[in-house]
Every structure is written in C-alpha cells, then in structure tokens.
Symmetry: C2
Subunit: 127 residues, 2 copies
DNA sequence: TTCGATGTTTTACGAACATCGAACAAAGCG
DNA sequence: CGCTTTGTTCGATGTTCGTAAAACATCGAA
C-alpha cells in the first residue's frame, strides 16, 4: 500500500550508530544513498536497481528505519530524501566520510536513476 | 591455537567499505575499536567483555579481516592494534567520525580494559 | 464502484551471523 | 616429554538478513 504504516521516521535521538552502520553495510543501500546524496528528493519510480520491487522496498525501509532517509507520500507516488542535516547533527562528519568513501570506490553502482523522468509504462499524452 | 592461520590482514586496496561498515555494525566490535582508538597495542588478555573467549576471538577476527586491526603474536600472547593510518589513507575521515559518534553515544561500553594488568586467575606469588 | 498503477506486507527460504562449549594447537615451563 | 597457558577452530543452535513471489492496500481515473 502507499500508506506507509510502518514508516517510523526516528527522531534524532533515536538514531543509533550501529543501526546506521548496519544499514550501510549493504552495497545496494549505499548506492541508494549516493543517489540521494545531493539532497534532492527522488521518486520511487526513478530508482533503478537489479532487484524486485519488494526487495527494493525492503531496503528503503531499512534506510528509513535507521533514520537515514525520509519518505513522503504524494498521491500514489512515494518520494525519498536523504536526512542530511539530521545526520550531520547526530553524527557529525559521518555521512560525508561514508559518501566520500563510497564515491571513491564506486560502491553500489548497480543502483541508478532512470534517465527518463517518466517511469516505464507511463502513457504520455499522445495527442 | 596461538598461531593465527586465518590471520589475513588485508592490504589497503583490499579493504572494502561495506565490510568495514558491517564490522562496525556490532556494539561489541565498536567497543573494542574504542579501546584501541588511542593507537596503543593491547593484549588479548587485557580485553574484558561479557562474552565467551571463542566469541571474542570471533569478533577480533571480523575486525582483523575487515582491515580494522592488526594482530601480532608474541610467545603465547596476542596483541591487537588499530590500523589508524591505513584506514585514514583508505577512507579519510571515516574512522574519526565513527569513533567520535561511538564516544558520544558510549557505544560498546560493555567492553573494557582490565584495570589490573594481570589476567584473572593468574596466581600471583603469595609468599 | 470497478479498474489500473504504485508500493507495502506477508510468507518462505537459504545464507550469514552471534553465541557458546568443547576440542585443538602452539609456546613456554618444569 | 608432559603440563599449563593462550587463543583458535569446530560443531551446534537460534537469530537476523537478503531475496522474491504473491497477496494486499491506497490513490486516481473511468
């Protein structure tokens, strides 16, 4: 469902280091984080990964529950955003260091953004 | 055995971000890292944790295999040391950020150093 | 209200992990 | 050569994780 029942967005104080580290111990999730690293909000449909949608949903939930991302719902669509400022406040320098490391090693490059902003199967107005 | 057969100390280039993150997703291991954070070499017997020695050995191996620590053997004893410089070279700023975060949250406080340099059970000269 | 699109949750399963006790191995001592 | 000390490795066990298929829930449109 689009209603994210379990969408616990932990408060700053609820974010734990070990949970953050665990969330970032998977290349897919690091790749997702890299895509979100510019702080811009991204649509679920923009995310491309060699995974089933249920698995992708799972990874996004792990990131969300760890406090790394925020999920917003708009109509049928979902949008994800990195919680940059919150993380910087909670664990200063950590996110930057991880992103720098991830970029230098190209971790999670399997994850990408759809080049076409439209999700596949979207019927654009033909007339 | 004291001979650490599986003691793979990965080269700089072999250290991966996700393996490092995975290694640090456990409070015990973060606690061990904190104890080693001053860069001084510590004896196995100095380490106190609410774990069986086999489990402690396991955690130390995870840290070693991830490239976070180096293990040296001297006689019957083993000594562990944090690979500060290597990590700083491989992933600049990462270790410092993690240690700062771990300290601010007191992660892994269950792990400590023996106050008495003698391991427990050591029979000191009684006469 | 029925249908289609979009994600989420459930369920299931193999792999990986944390843990412990016991067996083992190497170094040093007597 | 035995015995002790010091860790490591080997099962065994229960838990968590990554993955996908399928069922479900919600929104928007017809």
């Amino acid at each position: 469902m689009v209603v994210v029942r379990d969408a616990r967005h932990p408060d700053l104080g609820e974010i734990t280091l070990t949970e953050v580290m665990a969330a970032l111990s998977d290349p897919i999730r690091v790749g997702l984080l890299r895509l979100l690293s510019d702080g811009r909000e991204r649509g679920w449909g923009e995310l491309r990964a060699p995974l089933s949608k249920s698995t992708l949903s799972h990874h996004l939930r792990v990131l969300r529950n760890a406090g790394l991302t925020r999920t917003r719902q708009e109509g049928t669509r979902c949008y994800v955003q990195l919680r940059r400022d919150d993380l910087q406040a909670r664990f200063p320098g950590l996110l930057d260091a991880v992103l720098a490391a991830a970029n230098s090693d190209d971790v999670g490059s399997q994850v990408s953004l759809a080049t076409d902003p439209q999700p596949p199967g979207v019927v654009r107005a033909t007339g």
